[in-house]
């Protein structure tokens, strides 16, 4: 289900793969229609409210999640690339009600922004969802985008899980 190799063999990304018993069009809609997204995106018991959904490059999806008897937390996506019905590239971060970028309220030490590439492939009525993702440094990304004139992904990932586990096993 989880691997760390991209198709060309370069071990630089964290990749999660799932197969859903649903046609791709339905899976696609679940991602891009805010009423549907609200049903599964947040943790169980949380109520999701959409403030804004602008589905195009540099468009923003701005939403809040209300914990049962708890605080309201905001999040946002900034879309980089959208290819219906097969690909969405977006940067996800925690946010505030004004749409800024804020740290994860529970883990303030963790990276602010995460780049996600979602792809959907259909076969025999089932959809394979592949998610590649990890932290990015937004300033670097913006600088790169300006230079190269198109979105680029910082390949800021660990090599293989095995290598990492080896280091940790030997050194803990």
């Amino acid at each position: 289900m989880t691997e760390n190799h991209s198709p060309n063999g370069k071990s630089q990304e964290l990749v999660i793969t799932r197969v859903f018993n649903a046609p791709r069009e339905l899976v696609w809609k679940a991602w891009i229609e805010s009423a549907r997204l609200a049903q599964w995106w947040g943790p169980k018991g949380f109520k999701m409210m959409v403030a804004k959904l602008d589905l195009r490059p540099q468009g923003v999806f701005h939403y809040s999640m209300q914990a049962p008897n708890g605080p309201e937390m905001w999040g946002k996506f900034v879309f980089q690339e959208i290819v219906a019905p097969e690909k969405i590239v977006f940067i996800n971060s925690f946010s505030d009600k004004d749409g800024g970028i804020t740290p994860n309220p529970y883990m303030p030490n963790w990276p602010l922004e995460v780049m996600n590439t979602l792809t959907l492939e259909e076969s025999n009525g089932k959809t394979t969802l592949t998610l590649r993702g990890g932290p990015i440094n937004a300033t670097e990304l913006q600088a790169k985008t300006f230079e190269e004139g198109r979105p680029s992904m910082q390949q800021g990932f660990i090599g293989t899980w095995e290598q990492l586990d080896n280091y940790l096993a030997k050194n803990s």
């Binding site: 964290l14 799932r18 339905l26 995106w41 932290p135 290598q163 990492l164 280091y167 050194n171």
Partner: protein, 109 residues
């Protein structure tokens, strides 16, 4: 706090390069001097130094001077932090995708 956030980003940046990952695997086993490290690669001493600087900035290695040599060893705490983060990320997404699966099942009934 801000310093630490940036550091996790610099850890992933440091680890994105295969030469640097390879260097880490070697100094994970034992402390090596910079010239010993350089022998493993077809790179200039300057290029190796550059790689080591990136690793040091990310707190992935420690350098110490012994006489004329600089010795390099792995500093595993940073890798642990990065590993914990990735595990969290993976588990967050697995939960979310479980939720998506349940949603898709429910609407197709």
């Amino acid at each position: 706090m801000v310093e630490y956030i940036l550091n996790l980003n610099s850890i992933f940046g440091a680890l994105s390069d295969p030469t640097r990952r390879d260097i880490l695997s070697r100094v994970g086993d034992k402390e090596l001097s910079i010239s010993e490290i350089a022998k493993f690669y077809q790179l200039t001493f300057a290029a190796i130094s550059k790689h080591l600087n990136v690793l040091e900035k990310a707190h992935l290695i420690l350098k110490r001077r012994q006489g004329k040599q600089q010795l390099v060893q792995l500093a595993p705490a940073a890798l642990k932090d990065a590993s914990e983060y990735l595990k969290h990320y993976e588990s967050l997404w697995n939960d979310r995708l479980d939720s998506l699966e349940q949603y898709l099942e429910a609407i197709q009934k």
